[in-house]
Structure formats: structure tokens, C-alpha cells
């Protein structure tokens, strides 16, 4: 696999950011998805939602200017930009559950072709369970995007026909951005929207235990040539 042209974490974040339209209300999950904020163009009004009770735009607080009453859901100090609003937790999760958010970007352990998401528990018997807002986020936006490496540390696909870890949400994921491809989960199957770098359709299919529909990238390649 070392010869394949994988996207870096920042390149993945840039691909997600590119697909977020102006005017969207977006929650960026903890971990990998937080990088997306760095790639949102400042001239576009895209609204961030952090479930601990802040909506608008912000950047990481500069060193020495941390205000510990002003944090994001990852408990990192942030510097709010003009236009932010504060609210309590019930309103915040009402924004999610009530379908007011357009996009939620989440990390994942596993995603299944039917949109099932596993990102809160590996099922290990001695693990201390901790869910935070993961289950609320999984059902909490019109579209759920997942960002994850295509393969786990053992080289196995994290995109599967069904998840083996305990689920966070059922049938909730609409699109998956990996370091090899972008996959759209549709009623008619899994449509590959993009192949990263030199990754070929054959390589991606060989690594992924789910039938993939390459008609969209085939069209794109035909249009380019």
C-alpha cells in the first residue's frame, strides 16, 4: 500500500471544506473533523455549531489569550469572531435533534454501506463507556459526513457491509471521506465520487469489501480526457 497516493489529514479536511456551501450550519466533531475549520474560506459565511453552546465562527485562542469560559466541544479555548451566539445545552441539542443543522462531520471507527455508524465504543469488555454527544450528532443533521482513514491499523477496510463494533446510529451516514476516496451512500448503492491522487478503481475495490459504483468517476475521467 505504501506506493498509493494517500491524502494527508489536512488534505482530507480541505476536501470536506470544499463541499460545504455558504450559509450551511455545520457541526464539526471532535478529532479529525475539527481540522475542517482551518480550510473554510473566511470570505464565505459558513456557520459552525459547537454542542457546548456556541454558534457562529471562531478560531483557536492564541497562546496567552485563553479564556476557559470560552471553549469548544473538544474543551479547547477558542476566540469567537463577530456574530457568535451562546445558548444552553437543551437548546444546543434541540438544534441538532430538531434538524436545524445542515451538516455534521464526524470521525468513525467503522461505517457500513447502509449508513450505519460506529464511533463510540470498540466493544472491548474492559473499556469504560463514554458516548458524549456522539449519538445525538449521528442523528442530528440533514446530512452526516464521516472523515476517516480508509483502512485501520491492520490494513482492513473501515468501510464495511455491516459494522462489527457497537453502533452509534443506524443508517445515518450520507457521505464518507477517506484518504483514498469519497463515497456517497445512496439507495442504489455506494457511489464513488472521487478517487484520491493516483488511486485506481481496481485498487479501491480490492481494498473495500462492498461493491462500489465507479460510474461517477468514470464520467469525470471521460470528461477530463
Amino acid at each position: 500500500m505504501s506506493d498509493m497516493d494517500k491524502d494527508t489529514r489536512n488534505a482530507m479536511a480541505a476536501r470536506v471544506a470544499r463541499d460545504i456551501p455558504e450559509g450551511a450550519y455545520v457541526n464539526l466533531g471532535i478529532g479529525l473533523p475539527t481540522l475542517v475549520a482551518n480550510h473554510l474560506p473566511p470570505e464565505k459565511d459558513i456557520f459552525l455549531h459547537s454542542e457546548n453552546g456556541v454558534l457562529g465562527r471562531w478560531v483557536a485562542a492564541p497562546a496567552g489569550e485563553e479564556d476557559w469560559d470560552m471553549i469548544n466541544a473538544g474543551k479547547e479555548p477558542i476566540l469567537p469572531l463577530p456574530g457568535v451566539a451562546f445558548f444552553h445545552h437543551a437548546d444546543s441539542f434541540g438544534m441538532m435533534r430538531g434538524g436545524h443543522l445542515d451538516i455534521c462531520v464526524l470521525g468513525a471507527f467503522q461505517v457500513a454501506a447502509n449508513g450505519d455508524l460506529a464511533n463510540w465504543h470498540t466493544g472491548a469488555r474492559d473499556a469504560i463507556p463514554a458516548v458524549g454527544g456522539a449519538m445525538d450528532l449521528a442523528i442530528g443533521a440533514k446530512r452526516i459526513f464521516v472523515m476517516m482513514d480508509h483502512l485501520n491499523k491492520d490494513g482492513q477496510s473501515k468501510f464495511l457491509s455491516s459494522c462489527t463494533y457497537p453502533l452509534t446510529g443506524l443508517g445515518c451516514v450520507s457521505r464518507v471521506y477517506t484518504d483514498l476516496a469519497t463515497l456517497e451512500l445512496t439507495d442504489r448503492g455506494v457511489l464513488v465520487l472521487e478517487l484520491v491522487g493516483d488511486t485506481t478503481a481496481e485498487q479501491l475495490q480490492a481494498l473495500t469489501p462492498v461493491p462500489l459504483d465507479f460510474s461517477a468517476v468514470a464520467c469525470a475521467l471521460a470528461a477530463e480526457s
Binding site: W68, K75, F87, H88, R97, H121, I139, G140, P166
Partner: protein
């Protein structure tokens, strides 16, 4: 004249009995009423059920309350984080019961208690381990799980400003769970950064009206809160 201001946190928490359900505001360190937690430890109530988003970090605040052996059961969304070793040790030793509640369910169950709602159907958690054994219903094509309110005996919260009628205003993301815990609780004690005269708070700024508040105390600084990301 009604004056909800008490001179000390110890006085404000004096009547908390063993076995009480105590909600503590805060998300990480933001809005965490460290002085009230310290007073609760000094007050001595035990066999408590604790409702809070996290289960303490380091060795102060909630972690100190846990370490003192006062908490029998905890309802929270995210007990495992950087520095949560006190909780982890108690949990692995079987010395504390844990109910994991998705964060939005924790918020809504508190809100329901405060609003007199007997239960609600939510899509959160449907089909997962956390909905196991719970009543479900399909409403207009979507699947929901029945969740019940969390009634609280005492809520300990932090606010930025408060007046003698118990009206409260908050600061930035330190607001988090405090307004809904105040509603869910039969007795709410708020530690406020600044005690103001009646009328000094612009009524438009009051987030928690005094009807939800029993006592306020002037906040006192305790050992600096440990701030850790995670």
C-alpha cells in the same frame, strides 16, 4: 424582604441529606462550581447520585468528591477523559455505578424534569446498546426511544451575576447545563461571580429567572481549576 443571598456555601448546602440526587453544572472546567463542590465535600453528605456531563479530572472538584467516597451512582455522558483517573479507579473497583447518557438526552431529560414532562420520544440512540430494553415507537416513519426525566434534589451551578431574588446571567460557554439543571432541581444553589443590586441586571440578559433558584452565594476562588483538553 426576600434575600436569597447567603454568606457562605456551607450554609447554602447545609440541608443536603445522604442519598440526594445532586446535579453539578459545567462542561469540562467551564461553568464548574468548584467552590460549591468543595463545600459539598466539607458538608459530608454521602450515598449521592451525581448528575454531571463529566466525571471529574485531576484530583480536585468532582474528582475530589468521588475520591472522598460520597457518590454511589453517576449519570453522565463522558466519564473517560484525560485525567479522569479517580473515576476510572472507582469504576474498575466496582465502587461506583455508571449510567451513560447521550449528552443531548442528559440535557433534554433535565429539561423535561424542569418542565413537568413525564417522558419523551427521541431518535437519539435508537437501535444502539444505550436503548436496549427501552420502549420504542415509530412516529410518522421515524424511530424513537422513550426517555424519562431526571428529577434533581439539589443543583450546584455557577453564574456570572446574580441578584437577591436569584436572577442569574451567565458568561460565554460557561452557561452549558446550568439553566436546565436549575429548572430540573427542587433546590438550586448558584455561586455567582458578582452579586448585583435588584434591577442592575438588564431583564433581557437574565437567562435563569429567580423562580428556579433557592440560594446564591458570592463565588470564592478555590484551588485553580485544572484545565485539560480531552
Amino acid at each position: 424582604m426576600i434575600n436569597k443571598l447567603l454568606s457562605s456555601a456551607i450554609d447554602a448546602l447545609a440541608d443536603i441529606p445522604d442519598g440526594a440526587v445532586v446535579a453539578v453544572g459545567g462542561f469540562g472546567g467551564a461553568g464548574m462550581p468548584d467552590d460549591l463542590i468543595q463545600a459539598l465535600i466539607a458538608q459530608g453528605a454521602s450515598d449521592l447520585t451525581l448528575v454531571s456531563n463529566n466525571a471529574g479530572q485531576g484530583d480536585t472538584g468532582l474528582a475530589a468528591l468521588l475520591k472522598a467516597g460520597r457518590v454511589r451512582r453517576i449519570l453522565c455522558s463522558y466519564p473517560r477523559m484525560a485525567g479522569s483517573h479517580v473515576f476510572e479507579t472507582l469504576y474498575r473497583a466496582g465502587k461506583i455505578e455508571l449510567e451513560i447518557v447521550p449528552q443531548g438526552n442528559l440535557a433534554e431529560r433535565l429539561r423535561a424534569a424542569g418542565c413537568g414532562i413525564g417522558g419523551f420520544y427521541t431518535p437519539t440512540g435508537f437501535g444502539t446498546l444505550l436503548a436496549k430494553g427501552k420502549e420504542t415507537r415509530n412516529i410518522e416513519g421515524r424511530n424513537y426511544v422513550l426517555e424519562y426525566p431526571i428529577h434533581v434534589d439539589y443543583a450546584l451551578i455557577n453564574a456570572e451575576e446574580g441578584d437577591r431574588w436569584g436572577n442569574l446571567a451567565y458568561r460565554k460557554t460557561a452557561r452549558n447545563f446550568s439553566p436546565i439543571m436549575a429548572m430540573a432541581s427542587r433546590n438550586t444553589i448558584a455561586s455567582v461571580g458578582r452579586v448585583v443590586e435588584l434591577g442592575e441586571l438588564d431583564p433581557e440578559r437574565i437567562i435563569t429567572p429567580g423562580i428556579f433558584v433557592k440560594h446564591i452565594v458570592q463565588r470564592t476562588e478555590v484551588a485553580p481549576a485544572q484545565q485539560q483538553v480531552g
